[in-house]
Subunit: 346 residues, 2 copies
């Protein structure tokens, strides 16, 4: 176990740079109905195996009756079942997602209202949206707020529904995206070995509209723009996104680890956003990773927007691939175009 | 000037509880076209003076060509014009709003892309949505992140367009709401007298849908729910909101000041959200405030959602009513139903 991973020249600097004792107490998950690629392929007249080959996805989950609030609440309850904590211990609920049930109120308030007995508590509810990096940003914000005094316990929930915003005419996206929710309970715990070390996000405006849902905000307002799949569905300029990722990812990771005594190859687990088959390969091919050092669940979950990273973290903890003490690097790209990362010790 | 405002029994506790040297460097504003109440009254067959009497609004601003990104970018540029800083100094841009241009990407990325030369920089871009309290939450988050190292300078922008989501059949809302943007540049500055002391938010689920935009998210999805003013406009259950505010506001403020050596009547300026005429009066009537201690701009701006509080703070600074060293209490209600507050020294 690496005790202090920041470069430092004196004790004071070490103290300042050594990040906070933030512990993941438990995590929980909710998945809607499984949808196999063969079902999508049959429905959209794609050749069998097209999805696995081109999108890297064999199955994913899509909502039937569920909304973001419902799934998020079930994920939170699932996390609490695995902890010794209760809702009364929560100081703040952060919804870290790109999709939502209502334009107003914010999603965290809706998730709280969907919790069994959620109405008995008055903890705060805020949303953080950094599109696919929302969980990474929320983890950083929660770690900054947690102080063991005003904020002892913060819950982060990523609950995403991508399936409603997919254009049937676009085979790349209809095979790629999945839905689902995941929740993490974080605590400030000085007695824990767990740490939040650092997070970083950079935005590269040249890719601002390479991932886009055009209709549904004030730019293309509902009233003046009736629904068409083209206008209201997710579109991506795959070529530009790949070019940007290829160009920016390695310099971003260099900058991230610049002031650290460890490098990306030293971390126990890399948890990348499951943006697409090609995006995942860019990361894996840039470094000479050890087998199983980079986790992935694209094949069974697809791209679940901001839920992808926490779901992969959750699954890797559940299946024993990530153990207490492991250094984990969460990293990904996001619409906007952004790259972000966070380094933690589980 | 009150030097230390936390109750404390020893030096260590004082140090821990005395909040961070966060300084408002500058702020900027953008307002779209002014709309007088007489214009709205004539258009909707309301008697002249109805708005001033019932909503407390004589004029507000509504967008013509502008979007959230455009207004937000102009407000940011206006703030930088008044500072010695440049965009290259920015470490993070937070969009703190309830309304947005696109469902994806997030609004902060859009604002950055609308900035003149915004594409030359790669600072991070995240959104924080706590509906009308978004700026208060963003101020708290920025203060937690700012450390003078990784985060020296953070810009918070609240840019709101309410006018598109108003139902012509609802005279209470069409006369009440306004649009506009405001931006604040915050820095960690140990040499400054400025302070961030504390923020708090509580959510009361019993009011979850008392402020609501029903259509436009995953619950009432565009595809299955064509536009109607009823479904896609802001609705409020004024009676419930008033009841909740009356019941929860004073206990919230008591809890906020519980561990402080000062009380609400001791602060130099109270900056309340301009939710409505009745909401503003509830606060003013609960305490025996000094004249001009509670600021307001409902009459000339209406309720500008999350822009209301920072716009009032900005205007009060600009017109000299808030001076360096003044203790300011930002406070308000929000959809969800939440109450929040932040205590700072300007």
């Amino acid at each position: 176990m690496i005790e202090i991973i920041f470069k430092a020249t004196n004790l004071e600097e070490l103290e300042m740079k050594t990040a906070k004792p933030i512990k993941i107490i438990a995590s929980g998950k909710y998945l809607p109905k499984i949808v196999y690629s063969s079902q999508i392929e049959d429905l959209h007249n794609l050749e069998r195996g097209w999805s696995a080959k081109n999108s890297g996805v064999e199955s994913r989950h899509h909502v039937t009756f569920e909304c973001n609030g419902y799934m998020g609440a079930r994920a939170v309850e699932n996390a609490f079942e695995k902890s010794n904590l209760q809702l009364k211990d929560v100081d703040l609920l952060i919804s870290a997602s790109a999709t939502f049930d209502y334009p107003l109120p914010n999603q965290a308030s809706v998730i709280k209202s969907e919790l069994v007995n959620g109405n008995e508590f008055d903890f705060g509810t805020i949303d953080i949206d950094a599109s696919c990096l929302s969980f990474v940003s929320a983890f950083e914000v929660a770690s900054a707020l947690l102080d063991g005094k005003q904020y002892k316990t913060i819950v982060i929930v990523s609950s995403e529904i991508s399936s409603k915003g997919l254009n049937p005419a676009n085979k790349e996206t209809i095979t790629l995206f999945g839905d689902g929710a995941v929740a993490f309970i974080l605590q400030y715990d000085e007695s824990a070995d767990a740490r939040f070390y650092k997070a970083m996000q950079k935005n590269y405006t040249e890719g601002i509209f390479d991932s886009l849902v055009k209709g549904g905000g004030n730019k293309y307002y509902f009233k003046d723009n009736p629904y068409t799949a083209d206008l209201y569905s997710f579109t991506m300029n795959g070529k530009n996104l790949m070019r940007l990722a290829l160009q920016k990812l390695a310099p971003f990771i260099d900058a991230f680890f610049e002031d650290l005594a460890i490098k990306i190859l030293d971390v126990d687990s890399v948890i990348p956003h499951q943006a697409s088959l090609k995006a995942v390969l860019i990361l894996e091919k840039t470094y000479n990773f050890k087998p199983n050092q980079v986790k992935g669940n694209l094949k069974t979950h697809g791209n679940c927007i901001a839920s992808s990273i926490p779901m992969l973290l959750h699954d890797s903890i559940e299946n024993g691939e990530i153990k207490r003490g492991d250094i984990c690097f969460l990293v990904g790209t996001a619409a906007g175009f952004s790259i972000g990362g966070a380094l933690i010790r589980y």
